[in-house]
C-alpha cells in the first residue's frame, strides 16, 4: 500500500468539492428557508438573491426556489442576517429555532 502509483514528483493538487470533508458537520445551527417569504419564490422571477451573493461558502443556489447545499453549509448564519425579508432563520441542530437577529 505505498504511494508509487502516485505520479507526482512534487505536490500537485486538483480541485474537488469537500476538500475539508463534509463541512456541514461543523454546524451547530442551520438555515431554514421560508419559501412563502423568499422574494424570488414569491414573485417567481429572479430577484434579490442576496443570500446567494453573501454566502462565503457558495452553497446557496441562484435558482427558484433557492436551495442550500446542507452537506457543506457551515451554518454561519450570514444568509439569515442578510435576508431583507427575514425569510431565513437559523435552527439549531437539535431542531429548535433560534431567535433571529437583525
Amino acid at each position: 500500500m505505498g504511494t508509487r502509483d502516485c505520479q507526482h514528483i512534487c505536490d500537485e493538487s486538483s480541485p474537488a468539492v469537500g476538500e475539508a470533508g463534509k463541512t456541514g458537520e461543523w454546524r451547530d445551527s442551520f438555515p431554514v428557508i421560508d419559501q412563502e417569504k423568499c422574494l424570488p419564490a414569491r414573485q417567481n422571477k429572479p430577484s434579490c438573491f442576496l443570500c446567494w451573493l453573501y454566502c462565503p461558502d457558495a452553497v446557496v443556489s441562484r435558482t427558484i426556489p433557492i436551495r442550500i447545499d446542507m452537506e457543506y453549509c457551515k451554518g454561519c448564519g450570514i444568509c439569515a442576517q442578510i435576508c431583507p425579508v427575514h425569510a431565513i432563520s437559523m435552527a439549531n441542530e437539535a431542531g429548535f429555532c433560534r431567535d433571529k437577529t437583525d
Partner: protein, 315 residues
C-alpha cells in the same frame, strides 16, 4: 430567460447586481475556512471578476488554508504557493515566465494577507511595483496574523488585543498600505470590503483591464480573530465603512473617486461615531477612552483628506 434577467456582459453601463452577476464559481464548497469567513466571500468575487483566467500566487496565510491540502484544492484556478515574503516576486516570475514563453491573456494575480503585505512582503511588493510589473496584487486585510493564531501585524489597530499584544492591546495604529502603494505611482489603487462584494467585483473587473501594477486592498472582518459572532461578519464590515474606519475609493491614474457606500456617506454627511464599530468586537474590550479619541481623530483626518480629494477631482 425570464423577464428582467440580464446576463452580465462586461457592459459597465449596466449595474451589476446579485441577479445578473456571473453565476460561475471558482471556489468550491467544503473548503477549510472558518464559518462566515469574509476572506472566503471576498475571494469568491475576486475570482468571479477574473473569470478564472488567472494564475494565482499565494503566500503562507489563511488563503493557503482555503486553497486546501495536497492532493486536493478547493479552488478551480491554477495556483502557485510561495514563501511568506515572496508573493510579489513570485508574481514577477509568473509574469516573466509567461512573457518569455509568449503566452498572453492571463492575469497574474497575487493575493496575500496583511502580514504578507504590510510586513514581510512589503520589500518584494514595493520593488515589483517600482519595476512596473504587469500584475494585480490584492491584499486581504484581517488586521492580524490569523493563520498563526492571531498575532499583531502592521495592520492591527491601536488598542486591539492580539496574541502578541495580549493584555494592554496594541500601542500603535496601523499603517495605510493603500497610500503607500499609491505613492509608487502605479496606475490603479483601490480599497474594497468583503461586505460590499459588488463594489469589490467591479474594482477587480476594472483592474483586470489595466496594464501595469494594480493594487487592491480588501478589508475582511475575521470573527475568531476579532471576537464577534460569525453571523455578524457582514454587519461588522459595513460598520467599518459607516464609521469611516474603512473608506471605499479608487485611484485611477491619479484620479481619486469615492465609491459605493463611502460615496453615499459623503453625500449624506452621515459618518457614524467610530465607537459603534469598536464596541462590537472583543479585541477592543480593553481599549481606553484616550485611544478611542486618537482613533476617532485619525479617522476624521483621513475622511477629510478623502473628501478633499474627491472634491478636487470633481472640480
Amino acid at each position: 430567460m425570464p423577464n428582467g434577467y440580464v446576463l452580465f456582459e462586461g457592459d459597465y453601463a449596466m449595474k451589476t447586481t446579485a441577479v445578473n452577476i456571473t453565476e460561475k464559481e471558482y471556489l468550491l464548497p467544503g473548503n477549510r475556512t472558518c464559518p462566515g469567513c469574509a476572506l472566503s466571500l471576498a475571494y469568491r468575487y475576486i475570482l468571479k471578476a477574473l473569470e478564472g483566467q488567472v494564475i494565482v500566487t499565494v503566500p503562507a496565510s489563511c488563503l493557503t488554508v482555503l486553497h486546501g491540502m495536497y492532493p486536493v484544492t478547493s479552488v478551480t484556478v491554477p495556483c502557485v504557493n510561495t514563501p511568506f515574503a515572496t508573493t510579489a516576486a513570485s508574481a514577477t516570475g509568473l509574469v516573466a515566465g509567461l512573457k518569455a514563453l509568449g503566452k498572453e491573456g492571463l492575469t497574474v494575480l497575487a493575493v496575500a494577507g496583511d502580514g504578507g503585505t504590510h510586513d514581510i512582503g512589503i520589500q518584494a511588493l514595493s520593488a515589483a511595483a517600482e519595476r512596473q510589473t504587469d500584475f494585480l496584487y490584492i491584499c486581504y486585510d484581517n488586521e492580524g496574523y490569523m493563520n498563526t493564531g492571531n498575532q499583531r501585524s502592521g495592520s492591527t489597530p491601536l488598542g486591539a488585543i492580539s496574541g502578541t499584544t495580549p493584555i494592554v492591546g496594541k500601542q500603535q495604529n496601523q499603517k495605510d498600505i493603500a497610500a503607500i502603494m499609491e505613492a509608487h505611482g502605479i496606475p490603479y489603487v483601490a480599497t474594497a470590503n468583503a461586505s460590499y462584494p459588488l463594489d469589490l467585483y467591479e474594482k477587480v473587473r476594472k483592474a483586470k483591464m489595466i496594464r501595469g501594477t494594480r493594487f487592491i486592498h480588501v478589508f475582511v472582518p475575521c470573527s475568531p480573530g476579532w471576537g464577534f459572532p460569525f453571523s455578524e461578519t457582514i454587519k461588522i464590515g459595513r460598520l467599518a465603512v459607516e464609521t469611516g474606519w474603512v473608506i471605499l475609493y479608487e485611484v485611477e491614474d491619479g484620479v481619486f473617486r469615492l465609491t459605493s457606500a463611502s460615496e453615499s456617506i459623503a453625500e449624506k454627511s452621515n459618518l457614524k461615531p467610530l465607537r459603534e464599530y469598536l464596541v462590537e468586537q472583543g479585541r477592543f474590550k480593553n481599549i481606553t477612552e484616550e485611544q478611542i479619541g486618537i482613533l476617532q481623530r485619525w479617522v476624521n483626518a483621513r475622511w477629510k483628506r478623502c473628501l478633499d480629494r474627491a472634491g478636487d477631482s470633481q472640480s
